[in-house]
Amino acid sequence: MDVKKILHVMRHAPHGTVYTYEGLEMILIMAAYEQDLTVVFIGDGVYALKKEQDTSDIGIKGYAKTFAALGDYDVEKLYVDRISLEERGLTLDDLVVGAEVLESAELGRLMKEQDVVIHH
């Protein structure tokens, strides 16, 4: 079977809109199809990975732990945009997963290699 390089670009903060959650659902399903999946976190998307999120009082199910467990679904390529992280005053220690931090140029090259890019 044809294996495609599919990139999911997480761009929204969690909870304020559904894009991140439904994006995660899409990633989980696609993970079962043995494609070459990559997930990158850019802009407010990095907030999806913030540690210590507690959504119990807003009445919305939290899902930061599911991002942390993506490795269990064989989604191993998780990257965070360095500038997005830094401009929000965050470091890798603030995030639930051990994603790799990439420079803009590296992320730009990674995007260009993809067959399909889906922004969430």
């Binding site: 850019i42 802009g43 067959d115 890019v117």
Partner: protein, 97 residues
């Protein structure tokens, strides 16, 4: 890879974000409210001009017309929906939302 932008740069920072990842030679296409970026004399003119040195820039004419944008930055090429399709045929796509 074709990058498309559909938000006004006055409302959203996706133009500036996208430009950080744009590889030399890759075309940038403005659609929907994104076309406000290429209106002449706006504060993004310098930025667009600097991108234009390395990357071709397009704007969707029906969206320009719909918004009454007559004067656009020099070097920006306009395309109709068929031109949009041609760009998609020539390049893989990265639709920034």
């Amino acid at each position: 890879m074709l990058h498309t932008i559909n938000k006004s740069p006055f409302e959203s920072n996706i133009l500036e974000t996208c430009i950080r990842f744009l590889q030399p030679g890759d075309p940038l296409l403005f659609i929907e409210n994104g076309v406000y970026a290429v209106q002449a004399h706006n504060r993004f003119a310098m930025l667009i001009e600097s991108v234009h040195r390395t990357n071709p820039i397009f704007a969707l004419q029906p969206d320009l017309s719909a918004r009454g944008i007559m004067a656009i930055l020099e070097g920006v090429e306009t395309v109709d929906y068929e031109g949009f399709v041609d760009l998609v045929e020539k390049h893989k796509v990265n639709n920034w939302l």
